[in-house]
């Protein structure tokens, strides 16, 4: 089922176009990868297709009658580890975002159940900053899933993880997609995108000042071919 459909849309800030999209779709159980250099407009694209940024032109349609619940998995390396917080505090952040004052007492069981499902319940009292990158990322994913989103946005999910933690996280994300969750993965890692994505939005930066980036939607196979060609040329 299609959740969001984007046609010929332009997104930007203050009247200045940043990224142009010809066609994109977010569907249940579907993974959209977003690839592109820094500054190409990856965040703007996500804000645009999720409705946080009003489009400048074109069309963004949502499935009528379906309430969109957007989840977000932050980069564990972007977390400010000088904050004193336990594993539970970190996992409860996503659900606290949906509560008026951020209180999560009523939802503690949902967070703990999600932590148990991902095998990190034992970390609930441990200082978050002293956990490994893999443990931190699983805790954050447990928190994001506890809020029961129907679209989960992941920002560089495997950045800084060791091989085993990366493999484990990618398997978890594949499981989530298999259970019907729509995922949007922002990544510079070609292997991650090839493993997870059903479709890849490749952002090509503007060639001239004042122009917008262009979002090209391609299949993973086509993306792999293009990347191989690029490497051969180099």
């Amino acid at each position: 089922m299609t959740l969001i459909q984007v046609q010929n849309a332009m997104f930007g800030y203050g009247g200045k176009p940043v990224v142009r999209v010809d066609s994109l779709e977010l569907r249940r159980g579907h993974c959209l990868g977003i690839f592109g250099p820094n500054g190409a407009g990856k965040t703007t694209l996500v804000r645009g297709i999720t409705g946080l940024l009003p489009m400048m032109s074109g069309r963004v349609e949502r499935q009528p009658g379906v309430e969109l619940r957007l989840g977000y998995l932050p980069q564990h390396r972007a977390m400010e580890l000088h904050w004193p917080m336990t594993g539970f505090d970190a996992a409860a952040m996503s659900i606290s975002a949906r509560r008026l004052f951020g209180w999560v007492r009523r939802d503690a069981s949902a967070v703990l159940t999600s932590m148990r499902n991902l095998g990190v319940e034992s970390l609930k009292h441990r200082p978050f900053g002293k956990l490994s990158g893999g443990q931190q990322q699983r805790l954050l994913l447990a928190g994001a899933l506890a809020a029961e989103p129907n679209i989960l946005v992941l920002d560089e999910p495997t950045d800084g993880l060791d091989v085993q933690s990366r493999r484990s996280l990618l398997d978890l994300l594949a499981d989530c997609a298999a259970r019907g969750l729509c995922t949007v993965v922002i990544s510079h890692d070609v292997e991650d995108l090839l493993q997870l994505s059903d479709e890849i939005a490749w952002l090509h930066p503007a060639e001239h000042a004042g122009e917008s980036s262009r979002c090209e939607s391609i299949s993973p196979e086509h993306f792999a071919e293009r990347m191989l060609q690029t490497r051969r040329i180099k």
Partner: protein, 321 residues
């Protein structure tokens, strides 16, 4: 284990104070014998014992009664400042907290010059600075804003009342907090506001955590990080404004930074850090008040000194234990 260590630090500080007291009592006795009652510092009630040669003792009850409005305001500033200071350090907003009292002082100087109450112009100055800060942050202005505000506040407040003898002295008192006297009406206004703002900041701790760690998650959930950032600045500015107006810059900054800096190395969660900072602020106040009266030292600076001692011990303990 860490809680036990914190308690030990507190106990050792108290015992150190007691030792200082015994050592200084003899000195006070000598001073007391050479100083006539007319020249004794105001607010300190030293009383000679019946038998000659014994140390003078302070009558604490009359002293507490005399300073009740100031102590009530200081308790409120301690609780609110301890809580706010924890978030100030965690959010790395220390420069903002340093600059804002200087801006408040500009308003106070305008009030002193025109013989108005100092609070309304201080509110106007703080609100103006706050609006400027929030808009400059939204526009992504550079790191020059806060240092410039700090220097501007420090300079303009004195320029406003330059060559106004007594007013300059009053402004200096506001900055240094050497002569802390609070009118009951000022305390009645400041105490409830400070406590409500402090408790509001504490209740919203998960919101501040979310905004610091994952503003994108907050945005996707329909929250506006910029508005929450503005709310934090408003609450912090309220504490700095009310605190500076009643107790002066030094006391407010001491209560804002030092309890939080002492508590944070030991805290494993934000609520623990908040409670510890509020309790430590009250300990600093109690110890500082006692020492300042025993030693005839200015109160704000004594609290700052006591607090800094705790900070050093806390960080050394956290490093080596």
């Amino acid at each position: 284990m860490r809680v036990v260590v914190v308690l030990l630090i507190c106990l050792s500080a108290f015992s150190t104070t007691a030792a200082v007291d015994r050592a200084t009592q003899a000195a006070l006795n000598d001073i007391d014998s050479s100083v006539t009652p007319a020249t004794k510092p105001a607010g300190t009630t030293l009383k000679r014992s019946e038998s000659s040669g014994e140390s003078p003792r302070i009558e604490w009850l009359p002293l507490l009664s005399l300073f009740a409005p100031m102590l009530a305001a200081a308790v409120a500033v301690g609780v609110a400042g301890g809580i706010a200071g924890t978030f100030v350090l965690l959010r790395r907003e220390a420069l903002l907290a340093l600059a804002m009292p200087q801006v408040v002082a500009v308003g106070a100087a305008v009030g002193l010059r025109n013989h108005w109450p100092t609070l309304p112009p201080a509110i106007v100055a703080a609100a103006g600075a706050l609006i400027f800060l929030v808009t400059s942050r939204r526009r992504g202005s550079g790191p020059w804003v806060l240092p410039a505000l700090y220097i501007a506040g420090l300079s303009i407040s004195f320029l406003v009342i330059a060559s106004k003898g007594q007013d300059v002295a009053d402004l200096q008192k506001l900055f240094t907090g050497i002569d802390v006297a609070v009118a009951p009406s000022d305390a009645a206004l400041a105490v409830p506001i400070l406590l409500v703002v402090g408790i509001t900041l504490a209740v919203l701790w998960r919101r501040w955590l979310l905004m610091a760690q994952a503003p994108a998650a907050a945005e996707l959930a329909g929250l506006h990080p910029a508005r929450w950032d503005a709310l934090f600045l408003i609450l912090l500015t309220t504490i700095l404004l009310m605190g500076t107006n009643v107790l002066g810059v030094v006391m407010v900054l001491a209560m804002l930074f030092l309890p939080a800096a002492t508590a944070l190395p030991w805290a494993r969660s934000v609520p623990v850090a908040l409670i510890a900072a509020a309790v430590l602020a009250l300990i600093f106040l109690g110890v500082g008040f006692a020492v300042s009266n025993l030693m005839q030292w200015p109160l704000s600076q004594t609290i700052g000194g006591v607090g800094f001692g705790f900070v050093v011990v806390s960080h050394l303990g956290a490093r080596f234990l």
